[in-house]
Assembly symmetry: C2
Homo-oligomer: 216 residues x 2
């Protein structure tokens, strides 16, 4: 275990390749036949690995799909930490999201590469996968709360409340985009609307719901 310099070592590389092979075999099968229609035994067979080994790499069937998004769990928190000193966190998150939209980052939901689109659709239609995504959402919330506590000098409660609001809005926007694209809309056509929606959403977040349904 452990390598000090550059070379990851044959063992590590092989593990990584096995992991990739399993994941790719799994996603290909799932996209073809549906998540619930494919058993882990079939995935293991397709990846030429024993069932036990599969579970050594991915602790649950859902992880075969969601592990790719695990990195994004702390993304918002990282953006907040990386912002210029003495600047507000919210614009940093907003700008990052807008950039993601323009670059068609899959995490924004605005990516209609066929495989990505079908993957998003599959996730949306599979309750257990949606549940797994919610776990990431919860992780993103606490990571962001911690980042806000440490870098924005926000007290515990404020940090947590701000975090849940920001993450909730972030996800609502992404999910809206993903849902539209999953059922046919084109990313390029949706982009302008997505940008406008995002700007509006972050304004709402900044200004609060004061004007909501009030007798104007």
């Amino acid at each position: 275990m452990g390598y000090v310099d550059g070379k990851p070592g044959l063992r590590e590389r092989k593990k990584q390749r096995t992991r990739e092979a399993i994941s790719e075999a799994a996603i290909a099968l799932f996209l073809e036949q549906g998540f619930n229609q494919v058993s882990v035994a079939q995935v293991a067979e397709a990846a030429e690995v024993s069932k036990r080994t599969l579970f050594a790499y991915f602790p649950a069937k859902e992880d075969l799909v969601t592990h790719r998004l695990a990195d994004h769990e702390t993304e918002i928190a990282r953006v907040v930490r990386a912002r210029p000193p003495r600047s507000a966190p919210l614009p940093a998150v907003r700008d990052h999201f807008l950039r993601g939209l323009r670059e068609r980052d899959p995490i924004t939901g605005l990516n209609d590469v066929p495989e990505v689109r079908r993957l998003h659709r599959m996730i949306l239609e599979t309750p257990s996968l949606v549940a797994r995504m919610q776990r990431f959402k919860a992780g993103a919330e606490s990571a962001l709360a911690q980042a806000l506590r440490e870098t924005a000098d926000a007290p515990e409660l404020t940090a947590r409340l701000a975090a849940v609001q920001i993450v909730a809005v972030h996800w609502a926007l992404a999910q809206d985009n993903a849902a539209r694209l999953a059922y046919g809309e084109k990313a390029d056509a949706r982009c302008a609307g997505a940008l406008a929606d995002a700007r509006f959403a972050f304004e709402l977040l900044e200004n609060g719901l004061r004007d909501l349904g009030a007798p104007r």
Copy 2:
């Protein structure tokens, strides 16, 4: 199937009693030994029912615990719909939550009746139950969004964004209370703080995160 007037009929009454019996047996066992330590077969046996029948009443093991909270899924939406005409939705939700706190409504997390407290604790400590609760949260979001669309004259996007923010804050507050009580704090001691926290949270929701981490 179906009864027109008063009498529910013997069959319906019996079904209801069976349902109660299963649920009570389940919760008693779960509180005693832990959710994952008790199998559905044991629950079925304790309720003197076959496993197959148990699953006819509760489609999944988790529902044995969470079905009681299903009614609360649309509670916030109902509060919004029931508010006086031409008033803002947010104060209605806030006042309802504050009232819930004072009345120790379990949904606010501020209830330390031993059984409720242990139930909350069990849920918090069991990932699959937490996941099930998230589903209610999602249901609450869409119900609230619809209520806002229909009664606050809010456009689609605004309604959804407001809904996810409100529900997120609501849950954060309740979860904070539940977590504190689950590990020993007393409801009466926590009440003042919970009220203050809730008022602060709803102010934040109204006024937005403008002041968050900005160079004051």
